[in-house]
Amino acid sequence: MTISVAMTVNGKSVSGKVEARTLLVQFLREHLGMTGTHVGCDTSQCGACVVHVDGQSVKSCTMLAVQAEGAKVTTIEGLAPSADKLHPMQEAFRDNHALQCGFCTPGMVMSAIDMVKRHNYQLDEATVRRELEGNLCRCTGYHNIVKAILAAAPAMKSAGV
């Protein structure tokens, strides 16, 4: 069954014709060519595919594109305010060397931003570690990821994002 779908991705209106079974992540990667969102496990465990739908982090491998009809979707490509300035969370990941191979990074960053906002910019290490339960780093590089998120929380608050 082919269906027309329209949504806002990173502030731009997009539309396309998809099959009912097309996943949101497939729509982003294969229809829109936005390959920043990764597919790791494809079984909603690893979190490499995390994007924001209407401000909430979701696993885009476990959501149909048609379920995002009319929604506001933000991907890793939509975070940086300009070509030469990163989002505070991206900046903190860079400053703290919070990535090794980088495969899990887009999902980590998207989950981390949602986490910081849900906790009203106030996090401690235990909370960050528990909140990361939906994201796996195959390099086991969690230590610096946690450090980056703790550093990004006040940075996001002062940047007003």
């Binding site: 696993k59 476990t62 949602d114 939906g134």
Partner: protein, 265 residues
Amino acid sequence: MYDFAYHRPKSVADAVALLKGKEEARPMSGGMTLIPTLKQRLAKPSDVVDLGGVKELAGIKVEGGNVVIGAMTKHGDVATSADVKAHIPALADLAGHIGDPQVRNRGTIGGSVANADPAADYPAAVVALNATVTTNTGKHAADGFFKGLFETALGEGEIITSISFPKPEKAAYMKFPNPASRYAMVGVFVAKTASGVRVAVTGAGPSVFRVKAMEEALSKNFSSDAIKDIKVPATDLNSDIHGSAEYRAHLVGVMARRAVDKANK
């Protein structure tokens, strides 16, 4: 995934009409179980009726001594609801430990209860709190709603609309989560209610069940000491790569005692 016809009704009545007469049609709430099932080609529905557009199904309200939760209310919303936290903190705590934050942002209480996964958390709360499951056709009492492995009292085309939880005097839920999936290896919900003490176990057997011996002991003395010698037989409990039936039987006792201690805090 096999392809299917997709529908997004705006009301329960439209959803029921879309499901009617189509034997292979499936309703979808958050899709946290259905989509993975479809991806593995374990199901081949002709039609998927997405309840995500049915606004009347989401929301939490307090009615008298009950907290009534709409079927499409997400786990994350139950976990953070001021009403749920004020009246049944054990239920908010349970919701906040389902899956991970991303799953809690999509998965719904109605979907979890209708699916009746043997390791799901919510069935333990429904049974222990003696909740009432309301559907488009009527009401179901908690006892008797869960019939077995992925099997409930819901009929063809019957959709859960809300679940009403009576406010308990004391309650707590403890689970031993599978370290990978966060599903309950064993989860025990203990509630001291106006109609007595109820102890419901999920994850251990093919379906949620009550432990009458613990309920009787706790009715006389609501302390973990009162149930320390009560053993649950391993017969008919689940055995898999994560744990044997005997291990799960042991965990039932441990989680029950911890739940009682937590409820008494």
